[in-house]
Amino acid sequence: MSTTTDNPQQQEQHQQQPIPVPPHLDPTTYPRTTTNPALNTHITLTYTPLDPNAALTKISSPNAGANVLFLGTTRNSFEDRPVSQLSYTAYPPLALKTLSGIAEEAVKKHGLLGVVIGHRLGDVPIGESSIVIAVSAGHRGAAWRAGEEVLELCKEKAEIWKKEVFVDGDAEWRANRDRDAEGELVH
C-alpha cells in the first residue's frame, strides 16, 4: 500500500510533507476485531484469508439446532468482462461500528445464539472468500432468515469498498446500491 499516485492533480497541489500511510490502510494494524460477549457477536476485518471453521466454532452452542455459514467469494467476471483481481479497502472506525450494530440487532430480532461477520481486505485472489457470515439459532427458520438479512445489511451499510481490476487493465470501484441480490441492475 502506498500513497504515491500518477494523478497530475497531486503535483499541482500545495507542497507539504509526505503523509505517512494512515493506520486504516496499513495491514500491520490488522486484524481488527469487535466482540460483544453478552450477545456472542464477533466482527473481524483482516488482510489474511478468512477461516470458515473458526467462524463456525465461535457460534457453536449446545442450544443451537441450526448453523448457517455464508462465504462470499471473488468472481472472475463482471458483466462478461474478465476480472483479474479484486481489492478491498475499509474505514474501520465506522465499519466495525456498523457491522457490530448489524450483528447485535440480528441477535435481538431473530433470537440468535451467535453471529460472526468477517471481511477480508487488500487484494483477494479470484475464488477466495472476501466475506464470511455465520449465525446460529435454535431452529433453521431463524438462522436462514438472519443469515440472508445480515449479509444484505452488510452490503448496504458497511464502510468497505471493492475495486475490480479487469484483465485489460481498467479498474472500477463498485457500489452495491447499483445491484440487487441477483446481480441485476437496480433502476
Binding site: T3, T5, D6, N7, P8, Q9, Q10, Q13, Q16, I19, V21, P22, H24, L25, G72, Y88, T89, A90, Y91, P93, L94, A95, K97, H119, S130, I131, L151, C154, K155, E156, K157, A158, E159, I160, W161, K162, K163, W173, R174, A175, N176, R177, D178
Partner: protein, 87 residues
C-alpha cells in the same frame, strides 16, 4: 499551521489522487465541500453529491442542520464516504 486530517475512499480517492491529506483547521463543516471543490474542481458534482461525511466516528450532515453549527477543529479526523461495496 493547525490542521485536520481528511481521508478519501474509492471514487473520492481516485478523483483527488490521494488517500489522505491535511487541510487547514478550523473549518466550518458547511464550507467543507466548497474547500474541496476549490482544490479539486468538479468533485462536488462528480463525487461528493453521492457521498456521506464522517467527523470523528459519527456521520454528519454537511448540508443540513449540522453544517451551520459544526466546526472541524485542529486534529479532527474527517472521512469522505462514497457508496459502499463490501461482500
Amino acid at each position: 499551521m493547525p490542521t485536520f486530517q481528511i481521508h478519501y475512499f474509492a471514487s473520492a480517492s481516485t478523483y483527488t489522487g490521494k488517500q489522505t491529506e491535511h487541510l487547514a483547521a478550523p473549518l466550518p463543516l458547511s464550507q467543507l465541500f466548497d474547500t474541496l471543490e476549490a482544490l479539486y474542481p468538479g468533485i462536488r458534482e462528480k463525487v461528493l453529491v453521492s457521498c456521506g461525511v464522517s467527523l470523528g466516528e459519527e456521520y454528519v450532515d454537511v448540508n443540513g442542520d449540522d453544517g451551520s453549527v459544526v466546526v472541524i477543529g485542529p486534529g479532527d479526523e474527517v472521512a469522505i464516504i462514497p457508496p459502499v461495496s463490501s461482500g
